[in-house]
Amino acid sequence: MLKADNLVSIRQYLVSIVIVWILIAILLARFFYIQILSHDRYRKKANTNRIRKVTTTAPRGLILDRNGHILVDNLPTYVLTAIPGELSEKGQKFGFISKIIGLDSIRVSKNYSKYYRGRFISTRLAKDLTFTQISKLEENKLDLEGIYYQQIPERYFPSRVRASHILGYVKEVDKKIRKSIPNKSEYELGDMIGWNGLEKKYELYLKGKRGVKFYEVDNLGREVGYVSDLPLINPKPGQNIVTTIDIEIQESIEALMKNKRGVILVGNPSSGEILGAVSAPDYKPDLFTGLMLEEDWKNILYDPGKPLINRFNSGLYPPGSIVKMVTVATLMKNPKFDPLTLQDCAGAYQFGDRLFGCWLGQGHGKMNLNSALINSCDVYFYKTVNLYDLGLLSDTFNEFGFGATTKVDIIGEAKGLVPNKAYMNKKHGRYGWSKGAILNFSIGQGELLVTPIQVLNYINLLATRGEANTPHFVLGTSLPENTHPQISSENWDRIINAMGEVISHDNGTGKKAQPNSPMVKVYGKTGTAENPHGNNHAWFVGWAEFSNQNYSIVVLLENAGSGGAVAAPIAGKVFTNILKKQDFASK
């Protein structure tokens, strides 16, 4: 039982009741005033003066190359819409529309149910209508009550490069997508949203802000005009994005990769800017805009060349000899290592019960560090594995950025694989692997996997003696911190000199990367990576010192054979093209 008695007096009770009924009376009086006394005014307003809110699409920001050439633009296109609530005899009308402008009527009704979101929300029926089609509709306007058309901006690619894997694409927001995005209130069905590449990464900048218009519509829903006292808000276009891409370099490397499978990346080693990037085969950038036929989509999806995969960002490859400089940096960490000591290469090396071959079956003879790099001798690296353990080797790989994403500003980057002790113990058991595995890693084989963008970062680090910035595609973005390997300047000299001789020495494996001008000094390394998917992958990585700036390069050709024979000449052509362009510019 609750102790305290109720002490409320009749006066307190009555005061409260009176307040309640006064408030109710005020509300009733107000309703009486609006509903009974002002009924005629509001009825007229409801019948003749309905205000409809219509939002207008904001054009997305443009994407430009570093010199201001437009890579991605907007083109206005006509969209056919219907207001379901104003539409009578739907099927018949769709048939009629299809007849006069030559569309598939099944497609129109499919779109109708795809975009339907409410009886009085405009629902898309078709897009990419031509002006002729619109004029035909206009002629028959009286028979098409409830059918409207609108102009919306659509992505358009005016430049001569494709750059499809860099730019990415936009996708139409459908019900499923709208459900999955966090800021769904900012998108309407039929809007475009960046779905890949830079379009996705910089969606927040590119997308802009919708505008709002208030229309007065009559009681049949026909627009009678703007509402003067409700001002219109113009859509705010998205911000433009200036990429690091140089359209001329991009064009030249795309041409070089025609009908090939692989990657070319061209960069500025110290700034980390990527001047050109191609992942071949690719697709036309406008593949995803406009109407895509199911057939086209299937062709792309089941193409054995897998054109949708961004090879430079998410492709995982065994690196082969191109990572021998990492092995060298590991050796240099051991004070006992002497770069001048000679190792004899007889074409193969017996380690335990296994025979490890050199790529040159007849053997290279006596090799020191310099000649081993120039000739890409494998046995030299086999014979020096005793100077370090797997932990030191995997650490050095990590210092050069392998085994982690570079944080390049394109989504979907893979992080590759640098096997360390923990990984090997987990995969093979504590005693299931031996030092023999390290022999493979020392020449870039075994479980090692890298992405071309990591390789570009690696070569940038070599070219700048560890100072390079993180690779990126948009000018002036804030960059994540890059890794910076610590190597003495004497040792940097040794590595870099050897890489120069890979090109300039008579026996150098990368000779063919030299452009046809002695003025350009090229440094590099070839790689011929064995892989379980057929022929060897051909690699060439390096950089060239031009009079005004350096260019770093990564060439990868899938299953194409020897790096020196196949990849290096392509690098040479890229440098020659850059040289031509500069000569042209200086003239």
Binding site: M1, L2, K3, A4, D5, N6, L7, V8, I10, Q12, Y13, V15, S16, I17, V20, W21, L23, I24, I26, L27, L28, R30, F31, F32, I34, Q35, I36, S38, H39, R41, Y42, R43, K45, A46, N47, R50, I51, R52, K53, G85, Y116, G118, R119, F120, I121, S185, V212, F214, N219, G221, V227, D229, L230, P231, I233
Partner: protein
Amino acid sequence: MIFELKKFEIKDLPTNIIWAVSILTVIGLLVLKSISQHHIGTILGNPFSKQILFMVPAIISTIIIIFIPKYIIHKYAYLIYVFGIIIVLLPFLGKSHAGTYRWLDIGLPFALQPSEFAKIFTTIALARYLSDHNLKMKLVTSTIFPIIMVLIPTVIVLKQPDLGTAIVMIVPVLPMLYWAGARPFYLFLFLAPLFSMLTAFHTIAFTIWAIILGLTIFIARPKLLLSLLLFFGNIFIGLLSPILWNSLSAYQQNRVLTFINPDKDPLGAAYQIIQSKTAIGSGGLFGKGWGAGTQTHLNFLPVQESDFILSVIGEELGFITISIVLLVFGYFISQIMKKSYLSNDRFSSLALVGFATILLSHVFVNTAMTVGLIPVKGLPLPFISAGGSFLISSYFMLGLILNLSINYSD
């Protein structure tokens, strides 16, 4: 006073209150059914079926609450008050929904609004405090602690930010203090600064207010020094309010400004008020008929299933039904107050008058908003508006009202 020792019996439940709630619920469902005609998609995407679905836990919670003995409610009043404060703090730990922290994700396809429950818990705790202590309510100091008790959750809710619920949360303290015996003059003093602030933006209003303030102080006759302090303190607050105004969030300022001049913000609140008034006004005496409201079905009316549901009633079912709804609400609230007056114990009496005030605040704020009497506040109409946690919390409160209405001995 002699108590009849009486057991709790189901037949003692106040049937008139149950009838009132049933009428309101049925009208709400009828209107939601009309709105839902053109909705397609999942059950949770359709306000009518969603409401039906939520009725189940709502009614179950009412029934459970009815059978909880009064002394248990009294005993754990402070504990659930603390619990209420914790749950209104929880949303701040999660992600914001459209910039607010009103909603609590609990892994279900809908979110909960903890403040809906916290307002009830706060009222119960307040009832216990005011009934337990044989307070000398004639002293101004006795009213300060209860006000602090209410202010804690209110400030948190205000920070979410949810101005509407904060108002509903703080208002019950006034009638509760009044029923506990506080001098109306002191309550007036608590409200005075608010009026001073509001009127400060208008010279004539401020002058009139200053006169009312002076007269009230003169009639109540406190000591001279106190009188002067009260009078000039209020004037000072009034003069200070433009500075306070600038400290309000933009959306709050926006709402107040829109109220003063509706043409200022056509996109937001004014658009809503114009559409709401057009819907109601065009409905007339009998309305346009169920399912035939053009404003409603042409989607001109915003948030029609919750905040502006009364506008749908006004448009489709007319002034007749609006009157029924408001009269039923008036009757319902008066009945709760009557039960409160007739209650044997002070705890039940105070809790009941608190609940009545919560309901009255909801009804008044929501209704006044739809007809443009006050700025737009996101407050739904109890038992009628669609809404998951609001529906459950309303029925939860109904359970408490029914329970505390019966005089029985534990």
